[in-house]
Subunit: 256 residues, 2 copies
């Protein structure tokens, strides 16, 4: 297959390098990734600034393009301008830190995969449940085998697979669970500080405690030591509320 590989930690991150090494054994892989870390950018795209593309050669290990934009920008620009033919699969990762629960909506890693599916290309997002130099190898190996599965089975239109891998040695991973997106979320707080010129500023920080959830969700499967795979799409309609909402009586908008 022809693969487009990207991430949100930037082209110089360890996770994308390890993933590249695995994927290129089976596929033709082009790396187009942000020049700098783009965590928590959500599905941002760059409309007001020019995008620049810089060739990057990492330790003779891989050749790719760095873009001064977001993960979604990278995927758009790669597919529309940089690749001569459309990729068969977009792979995004390996992200340093899990992308489960409500946190998925802030995730640049997932947004890159989403952008692939918006443009009609199947996609996988892959994250590891640690933010401290984990061994990326088990996650990369799993991504490689999953890419083969996706090639063989296909994915529904506008659907990607959001994969989260425990940060443990391969032999300790308990297995794979297909999950739904849970409600684990980043619980933020703001640290109020005063700068050297006596102005107040705030640092946003926080943590992601696992909420009480049944075993069916991404966060709980991951916490229990399983690889979590969640099929994600971007139809945000709350279908269950369509009919109740239709019962509301809306006023006419009157001319003044």
């Amino acid at each position: 297959m022809r693969l487009l590989l990207t991430n949100d930690d930037g082209i110089y991150a360890k996770g994308i390098e390890v993933l590249y090494e695995q994927l290129r054994r089976d596929h033709e892989v082009l790396v187009v990734a942000p020049e700098t870390e783009q965590s928590a950018v959500g599905h941002a795209i760059t409309l007001m600034d020019p995008l620049r593309v810089k060739p990057v050669n990492r330790n003779r290990a891989f050749f790719g393009y760095a873009v001064n934009g977001t993960p979604a920008d990278c995927v758009k620009l790669a597919i529309k301008e940089l690749m001569e033919e459309r990729p068969d699969l977009v792979v995004s990762g390996i992200n340093l830190g899990a992308n489960v629960g409500i946190n998925v909506i802030y995730s640049g890693t997932v947004s890159a995969a989403t952008e692939g599916t918006v443009l009609g290309v199947p996609a996988i997002a892959i994250s590891i449940n640690s933010i401290r130099s984990p061994d990326f190898e088990p996650a990369a190996m799993f991504a490689r085998s999953l890419a083969r599965k996706v090639a063989a089975n296909g994915l529904p239109l506008r659907t990607l697979l959001n994969v989260n891998v425990p940060a443990v040695p391969a032999g300790e991973i308990k297995g794979v669970r297909v999950t739904r997106q849970g409600v684990t979320r980043f619980v933020e707080r703001f640290e109020r500080r005063v700068d050297p010129r006596d102005s107040v500023y705030y640092w946003q920080c926080g943590s992601t405690p696992l909420l009480e959830e049944d075993g069916d969700t991404d966060g709980s499967a991951l916490a229990a030591g399983y690889i979590s795979i969640t099929p994600i799409h971007y139809d945000l309609t709350n279908y269950a509320f369509l009919e109740p909402l239709r019962e509301w009586v809306f006023p006419r908008v009157k001319s003044r």
Copy 2:
């Protein structure tokens, strides 16, 4: 009610001023909005930079706070730090330009409302279908009456209303339709240019053609002259694909 009003076009935009004027007739309204335009930022949050808050007084019309961050930052900071009591409702808008179909995932306007619901506060996002100085008054009047409805009826947990209003005189609005999110999307292209120092750069641009859709979607209701209201949540699970995906046989991750 106690309302938090924000947007993604920035605190100096006309849309938020007109909306403020309507809402303050019924409610106590605090404005906390981005200092500058934040279009297409998606659900980005600012983790790597300090956030600063600046009091803004617009033409004696309203007093509020400008934040050097994204719409989601504004909502988090307002609820966690700036407001003494939690708001009863978050209102985001009035956005210059429709937020329908797949474009919803790029929308800062909708992300601000989403952030409200993440923090447990019901929310409304409101956009007008024009990017050229429309009359915001009909949309603002509708938002005011809808806020009253939400106060009376409540909303399901983690659900917001995404409202899009035609840019026509109030008397020409055909009515209100409760819709699902369609697949209308921004079709981008990249303009390749060369800067004065002979380096290549790209401008991302594009248009949002209305795709063929049945009358049940946000984009088609809006195009037909109706106000569209879509209940939006952020459970992105593709439930229909959970069972088929569980049939896939996943390899074990082996130790090296």
